[in-house]
Amino acid sequence: MPQAPTVTSVTFDQPSYQPGQLITATMTYTKGKSDLVNTLTGTATDPVTGLSGHLDQTFTIANQITDTTTPSVSDPPARTWTKVSDTGLVAVFTATA
């Protein structure tokens, strides 16, 4: 089973801002995971006629691959947020109050 990413925390560098001040928001998150999906093709071949029939079937290997995950923030319709860093676990965004 794939696992959805989770946002584990969102914090601000101060509790309140004056207009024009820089807001720094830090989010921590876990990446999503997906399983390896394979496709098996079954083929039956008549060697006399050379004809064949095919059927594709998928199967999953539950290897829980960690996916690249995209963090983002928004507070519509107020302001534009810029991602200034992203470690894969912690992402930092800034905007103007």
Binding site: A4, P5, T11, T30, G32, T69
Partner: protein, 307 residues
């Protein structure tokens, strides 16, 4: 102008306007299309300083205002008086000639319907006062309240958000033993008919200013008790300390009153105006104008919010 002569932890002398925003943080897995999110709130405080200004003298003269503005300013509000009706329109009026940053507090005294044409033509923030300092001018406070409310209806029918409806109380009638109707609260207009409760308060004629200033001045406190719980902004639209002491005395009392006004609940004080004029050539208790550097510095600190 007045015919006669008023604790919590400290704050800055400004009005807080805090707006809360919700930030949504989302992590998205582009492979599976799944995502997770979480919300958090932050606030932006669009703090607004109270309007701090002055009347420059005993007439509406722009020149007098400009002198006051240059001497003790920058000022961003000033009182204007019409002894009878308002002009038919704001354009062309004396208040329209005041600097754009100045909010005029326009007082008129005769009930009329042309208040609507005036209000409709106002193009800048403006406070409108019907019959300022009514206390003592009526047989009963109820009579004034009825008149005020009828004017408020006319003003509000014009739906001009630039115009505030202001009730402005006198000072002297609220002294201990003063006007019985005033002290009974009979002049206090209902909150539904007013945007700001304003007050004029001076050093009492022939008396020294109270040692603890507005915080223990009955002229102020007796009025404040009627209006402070009504959920409306408060204002001091005339304020003056006479020349009975040294300049240091006046400077210290302005600072003292600023400190006291800071203790009002956040958002309550919307305006503070000094009556920068001398009302009497002989009575020092009515000589309010100051020109000394320390007092000017103190008033400018009130303006900047640094006091």
């Amino acid at each position: 102008m007045d015919k006669g002569v008023g604790h919590r932890p400290g704050r800055r002398l400004h009005r807080d306007r805090v707006t809360s925003f919700t930030l949504t943080a989302t992590a998205t897995d582009p492979i599976t299309g799944l995502s997770g999110s979480r919300q958090a709130t932050f606030t932006v405080n669009n703090a607004v300083a109270p309007l701090i200004g002055a009347r420059g003298g005993n007439t509406n003269s722009l020149a007098l205002f400009n002198t006051a503005n240059a001497t003790i300013g920058p000022l961003n509000c000033s009182k204007i008086f019409y002894s009878t009706i308002l002009p038919a329109a704001f354009p062309g009026s004396v208040e329209s000639t005041y600097p754009a940053a100045v909010t005029p507090v326009v007082c008129y005294k005769t009930m009329n319907t042309n208040v609507q044409s005036y209000v409709a033509s106002v193009t800048r923030p403006l406070w409108l006062v019907y019959h300022q300092e009514p206390e003592g001018d009526y047989a009963t406070g109820a009579q004034f309240v009825s008149e005020f409310m009828s004017q408020a209806v006319l003003i509000r029918q014009m739906n001009n958000p630039l115009v505030k409806v202001v009730y402005c109380a006198a000072g002297y009638p609220y002294r201990t033993g003063g006007d019985a109707q005033a002290l009974a609260g009979n002049y206090i207009v209902p909150a539904s008919s007013v945007d700001v409760y304003a007050k004029d308060v001076y050093q009492d004629k022939g008396a020294i200013y109270p040692s603890l200033g507005l915080s223990n001045y009955p002229i102020f406190q007796n009025w404040l008790a009627f209006v402070e719980g009504k959920g409306k902004p408060l204002a001091i639209t005339e304020y003056g300390i006479g020349s009975t002491g040294t300049t240091t005395d006046r400077q210290q009392r302005i600072a003292l009153d600023c400190g006291y006004l800071r203790t009002l609940p956040p958002g309550q004080l919307a305006m503070w105006q000094y009556w920068w004029a001398n009302q009497s050539p002989t009575d020092v208790t009515q000589q309010y104008q100051f020109t000394d550097v320390p007092t000017i510095s103190t008033w400018r600190a009130v303006i900047s919010g640094s006091l």
